[in-house]
Amino acid sequence: MSFNNLDQLYRSVIMEHYKNPRNKGILEENNVTIDMNNPTCGDRIHLTLKLTDGIVEDAKFDGEGCSISMSSASMMTQIVKGKKLEEALELADIFSKMMLGEEYDLDKYDLGDVEALQGVSQFPARIKCATLAWKAMEKGVKSEAQ
């Protein structure tokens, strides 16, 4: 059996995040808490954010889900930490575009590990797994920005 197609989805950096998630747990000193789930499959995320002076000072996630949803949450918390709120929202937008296979500004941010998730766009059934954490972050940041 050929694993070539699967390798596009399960890049080693994704599996590494799944095995060793960054920022996993609950942030005690939080001011924003978001719970979100994917009702079609049961994936669940509990995101805690510390937003101070227009900046995402800290972020942690807890939850249950597949390799794609959990690694995506890990990468999301990694990249938004230290970003301004508007930058975090812009990253959420870029991520959404990436999943939909739409064009986005390649140069504005160093996406780092997040780029490994690009292959998910080829697996329509898994896009919702990847976007769950980002939607939670977007919701949390927007609630604070208002």
Binding site: N5, M15, G65, S67
Partner: protein
């Protein structure tokens, strides 16, 4: 039963998916459709398409004859006394909602009890939740035994003289368990409650006999038994349906319409407001003919054999956990499982890349997932067109998933 011949009736199975011949193991979600059903729909739309119960013209008569003919086929299929007891609906969900919103709303009082079980599908939970909230009634859950079966003692303990409605699935869409509906109906009736049966997973696989079960209402969907989507059936005892008010009002269901008051048609039409699902019903009739030709007993025997083979083979995979009773005779043709360390979504994606379609998720049974202490599972479900070679492909696919994920870790 010659599986090669049966497979050839299902055009959709004859294709490659992701470079591999398709193995369809998701029939509990929806079954595939045989050419006989597809042709019946085609014939209806190409020659007979017309509205029913109103045309004086020939096409209208043909459409009405076919539509009502399908109702008679359904009556016979579940051994109802009369076609007055057969209501066409959009599916099981609509049928159960009709009972809750009709019978339930008209009869329930504050403090009355509704009894369901932990294994129910959301469609047999939420209509009762909503009804209980509206009426101040109590929704009670019967606990399951360790192996996922129901004990009659637990059922007896849950049903009291305050219980007015007992609603239980005939066959579990997750555990595969076949529940002792006839015995449960007796307990319900002894306590003055009615028995509602969610037969969505039963009707495609086991002989359903509403008189033998002595159930009061029974619901099932066409699309899980070779018929199109969008057609289902609500069976109800005539005496209950007679007293029950319609919940949808409009054309087709009326007798006389005045400015302030109207009256309803007789059974079953008073429950079929609007232009009915004519093609769907005709498709369901064709599906019943098809199932009868093969024989439900043959289908059930074939599925027991496949379930036994699947469990034997799956158990050989290290780290694979099967949910539900181990005895294949206690279950229908589906196996729900988890492969340790590999999330069911990831399992399903690897299988899909190998041309194998399975379901992954909570299977519309979140309370049961909680009871099983899992967030999601994978499920392979079989029908008459599956064979042991399909299961061999599944097992090979699962072994490759295990291998793939152990490599990346």
């Amino acid at each position: 039963m010659n599986i090669k011949d049966i497979k050839s009736y299902f055009p959709v199975l004859n294709q490659e998916v992701n470079g591999h011949p398709l193995v369809y193991l998701d029939s509990a979600a929806t079954s595939q459709k045989p050419i006989q059903v597809i042709e019946a729909l085609k014939k209806y739309y190409e020659f007979d398409n017309s509205n029913v119960h109103r045309g004086v013209h020939t096409l209208g008569n043909r459409a009405t004859d076919s539509y009502e003919g399908a109702r008679e086929k359904v009556r016979k299929f579940i051994n109802a006394r009369s076609t007055k007891e057969i209501i066409f609906t959009r599916g099981t969900t609509t049928a159960l909602n009709t009972v809750a919103a009709g019978y339930g709303r008209q009869t329930l009082q504050e403090g009355d009890e509704i009894v369901i079980t932990y294994m129910e599908h959301h469609s047999n939970i939420i209509p009762w939740q909503q009804l209980a909230k509206e009426k101040g009634a109590v929704l009670k859950y019967v606990d399951l035994q360790q192996d996922g079966t129901l004990s009659l003692d637990a059922v007896r303990a849950a049903i009291t003289n305050k219980t007015k409605i007992v609603s239980i699935m005939y066959v579990s869409n997750v555990l595969g368990t076949i529940n002792p509906i006839k015995d449960i109906a007796k307990i319900a009736h002894d306590n003055g409650a009615i028995m509602v049966v969610d037969a969505a997973q039963a009707a495609p696989h086991v002989k359903v006999d509403v008189q033998d079960l002595d159930c009061d209402f029974l619901a099932f969907s066409g699309h899980k038994m070779c018929a199109p989507t969008g057609i289902g059936v609500l069976y109800g005892k005539e005496a209950l349906l007679d007293k029950m008010e319609p919940i949808e009002f409009g054309g087709e269901m009326i007798d006389f319409v005045g400015l302030q008051e109207s009256t309803w048609k007789e059974l079953p039409w008073k429950f079929e407001g609007g232009t009915p699902i004519i093609a769907g019903a005709i498709g369901l009739g064709a599906a019943i003919d098809f199932l009868n030709e093969i024989g439900l007993d043959n289908i059930a025997a074939h599925e027991h054999k496949l379930a036994a083979y699947a469990m034997d083979e799956l158990e050989k995979i290290e780290g694979l956990q099967i949910f539900g009773p181990r005895d294949p005779m206690q279950r229908c043709g589906l196996v729900t499982f988890n492969l340790d360390d590999v999330h069911p979504h990831d399992v399903a994606t690897v299988l899909d890349m190998n041309g194998i379609a399975v379901r992954a998720g909570h299977h519309c049974a979140q309370p049961l997932m909680k009871w099983l202490q899992v967030t999601a599972t994978a499920r392979a479900s079989f029908y008459m067109y599956n064979d042991e070679a399909d299961i061999d492909r599944l097992v090979a696919g699962l072994r490759s998933a295990k291998e793939y994920f152990s490599d990346v870790f």
